[in-house]
């Protein structure tokens, strides 16, 4: 069974490799996209704060998020422990989205 | 520089640049030049320097003819075309050497 370079011991429980692979793929597809989404949203708010025209800020942050996206997807496969991958990508995405919502309300 | 000469000149420079780089790789030197030993260090340096100069000249030709934007784009793509042509040449020559 082909699994990516995993030294994963997951808290002593034996997780079947297929589940681990599925978790990695999910992290690469959904986690990375969520992270990119958060980056684009928060980046746009930051840009607006910094005085950029809104269309400019949106474009800049979206372009940056697009460059990050495939790298984040691959990182989900490179990271030794899947849970770390989900924490950073999924958790990071949620954090960024929350931060952008907060920045949006503050900026009003 | 007349229009008709620019393109062949550009591709020619890119081709020679990658041809020089190809010869500086030990395997191709052994296949195509002499099989007893790899290229000497001085030759490798000179070949790679020649390649760099050819690439720079190609960039200058492209920009002089087409302006900055189109020039850089054309140069970048012409490099790939030159590299592919050199790979094809190396394959063809190596086949005939190996028999």
């Amino acid at each position: 069974m082909k699994t990516a370079g995993q030294s994963g011991r997951l808290e002593g429980r034996a997780v079947p490799p297929r589940l681990r692979t599925a978790a990695r793929v999910a992290a690469a597809v959904f986690g990375a996209y969520g992270f990119a989404w958060g980056l684009a949203a928060f980046g746009a708010e930051l840009g607006a704060f910094a005085g950029m025209a809104p269309a400019e800020a949106v474009t800049a942050s979206s372009l940056l998020a697009l460059v990050v996206l495939p790298v984040a997807s691959l990182w989900a496969f490179a990271v030794p422990r899947v849970t770390v991958g989900w924490a950073v990508l999924g958790g990071g995405g949620v954090l960024l989205i929350a931060a952008s919502q907060f920045a949006g309300t503050v900026g009003q | 520089m007349p229009d008709a000469l620019m393109l062949p000149g550009l591709f020619g420079l890119c081709y020679f640049a990658f041809a020089a780089l190809a010869l500086s790789v030990e395997r191709h030197w052994r296949d195509l030049v002499e099989s007893r030993r790899g290229p000497p260090r001085r030759t490798v340096f000179r070949l790679r320097l020649a390649a760099l100069l050819c690439m720079a000249a190609a960039l200058s030709v492209a920009i002089r003819h087409d302006g900055t934007g189109f020039g850089i784009l054309l140069w970048a793509l012409a490099l790939s075309a030159g590299a592919l042509a050199v790979a094809a040449t190396v394959t063809w020559r190596t086949r005939s050497v190996r028999g």
């Binding site: 990516a4 800020a57 | 790789v25 934007g69 970048a76 190396v90």
Partner: protein
């Protein structure tokens, strides 16, 4: 050599990247092949249109701009056929499309057509051609509902990016093997060499074309920024970013001001340049708006610099140059679109797009050969499915494309919905090739048979063009019809190459398991 070289890329990273690279390639290879192939055709969509719409082969455009008021408006009236017009637009003739293309939206339906530069309406062309079939198939798979096609294509494109990056990481000796193509010996090694070659040597193009493709539709597939700053109102975002303008109808009738002075004013605002597309919104209304786009022939950027005029008074309503970031976005988009008039570049785009097809195809073939060892000489259903899909999405796709072009020449002009018949034939024959591949795959997909079909169809297309339009290559050269000559030349080359490949493959012996197990990929 006593000191151990510190590797830039650790073996663990290399191993970790192998699985996603392999499986992204195996699952999405067919779709990516479609995208790259149709994209390559789209570079010459206008030329394919000339080939598939012989009525539009009217030669080069005469000197002098097209008069909108004298040449275009009468055609709009004719297309409207008495119905009240809501909006309409005209794509003015240029070097690659010497006729104008119009779309008229009336209260009871749409009407479209093409006309010569002096205003003569041409009979219906009866085909979607390259511009309205191959090209939209490339970027949206013709799935328009909810932009689902864009999402699928962009998902595959991000996977392609990941595949390119992971491929570079996996490649063991990227500089030593830079020019290596061992076309002799084991097929598996040759396939991997060719895969690496097309991947590495054309890497700048592949990265550029893939990322810029997604960039074009970025606000649609990554709308987070628009959500954050525009509350999800994409239209308002585009109004801000691209300088668009729109207003609703006022239901008060008013005549349209002369259009030609507006074109002159637009040229003055642009500081030179030609108009490419003219839109009239809310035609015949007091709130009518005229939009004029600039031609993109002389620049990389996709910024059409739209100028919006009041349709009744002729005053400029909006002309807003983009900010620096949006301008960059337009340049990135323009890099993908290749709307510029630069023939060496266009041919390089076409060639490298096809090299992308080779990259994807050799990857799939390499996987098939590698797995063949594991599955034994009589492979199981899994391998056979992937093999059939690989065949259907490469030679099968080519068969379908050529069959559609042949049908374009063969179908009578008068049949109703002729363009849909052509499209139906395309998909029918594509499915047929896939079924043929699935049924005939035992130890190998039926490459030789499908390549023979490709060769015969491509040759038939050239012959049919000659027979049905009387335009053979020598006549094309004589009348400087480079578009048709180019398409015929590529068709002829395809026929020749496919014939050679099919003969070569027919002579290949069946793979023997004992030989396969011995091969090493990096000898």
């Amino acid at each position: 050599m006593t000191a151990k070289k510190r590797k830039l890329i650790s073996p663990a990273l290399r191993a970790a990247m192998l699985w996603p690279h392999t499986w992204a390639g195996v699952t999405l290879g067919g779709l990516l092949m479609l995208i790259f192939f149709m994209g390559s055709l789209a570079v010459f969509a206008s030329e394919i249109d000339r080939w598939m719409m012989p009525a539009t082969r009217v030669g080069t455009v005469e000197a002098g701009p097209v008069s909108l008021d004298h040449a275009v408006l009468p055609v709009v009236e004719r297309l409207a056929a008495g119905r009240a017009v809501r909006d309409w637009y005209v794509q003015l003739p240029d070097e690659r499309r010497p006729v104008m293309a119009l779309q008229v939206r009336t209260e009871t339906g749409n009407a479209g057509g093409m006309a010569t530069a002096d205003g003569q309406l041409l009979p219906p062309v009866g085909t979607l051609g390259g511009t309205y079939f191959f090209y939209p198939l490339h970027y949206s798979l013709h799935l328009r509902a909810g932009f689902i096609g864009y999402w699928i294509v962009c998902f595959a494109s991000v996977a392609m990016l990941a595949g390119l990056i992971s491929g570079v990481i996996i490649h063991a000796r990227i500089f030593k093997d830079f020019f290596t193509f061992r076309s002799w010996g084991q097929i598996r090694r040759s396939l991997l060499d060719l895969h690496n070659l097309t991947g590495v040597l054309v890497l700048p193009f592949h990265l550029m074309i893939t990322i810029t493709g997604i960039v074009i539709v970025l606000p649609i597939v990554l709308p987070a920024g628009v959500q954050a700053l525009y509350g999800g109102d994409v239209r308002r975002f585009y109004d801000d970013a691209l300088g668009n303008y729109s207003r609703p109808r006022s239901s008060i009738a008013a005549p349209l001001a002369p259009l030609d002075p507006m074109v002159a004013e637009a040229r003055r605002l642009w500081g030179g340049g030609e108009p490419a597309v003219v839109f009239v919104y809310n035609a015949g209304d007091a709130a009518s708006v005229v939009r004029i786009n600039r031609a993109l022939r002389d620049r990389i950027s996709l910024d059409v610099q739209p100028v919006f005029f009041d349709g009744v008074t002729g005053q400029v309503l909006k002309y807003q140059p983009p900010g620096p970031v949006v301008a960059t976005h337009r340049v990135l988009s323009g890099l993908h679109f290749a709307a510029f008039d630069h023939w060496p570049l266009r041919w390089l785009y076409f060639l490298f797009g096809m090299s992308g097809c080779v990259l994807i195809g050799t990857g799939m073939l390499y996987w098939m050969e590698k797995r063949r060892v594991a599955h034994g000489v009589k492979p199981g259903v899994g391998w056979r499915s992937v093999a059939a899909i690989a065949c259907g999405s490469t030679s099968g796709l080519l068969v379908a494309t050529l069959a559609m072009m042949a049908a374009n020449r063969l179908l009578p002009a008068g049949i109703p919905s002729r363009e849909l018949v052509e499209v139906g034939l395309f998909f029918l024959i594509w499915i047929g090739s896939a079924v043929h591949a699935a049924v005939r795959t035992r130890t190998d997909p039926p490459w030789s048979e499908q390549c023979t079909a490709v060769a015969l169809l491509a040759a038939a297309c050239v012959a049919l063009n000659w027979i049905t339009t009387g335009e053979h290559p020598i006549r094309a050269v004589a009348s400087a019809d480079w578009a048709v000559l180019g398409v015929d030349a590529v068709l002829a080359l395809t026929a020749f190459a496919a014939w050679r490949v099919s003969r070569r493959l027919a002579q290949r012996p069946d793979p023997e398991l004992s030989n396969l197990a011995k091969v090493t990929d990096h000898a």
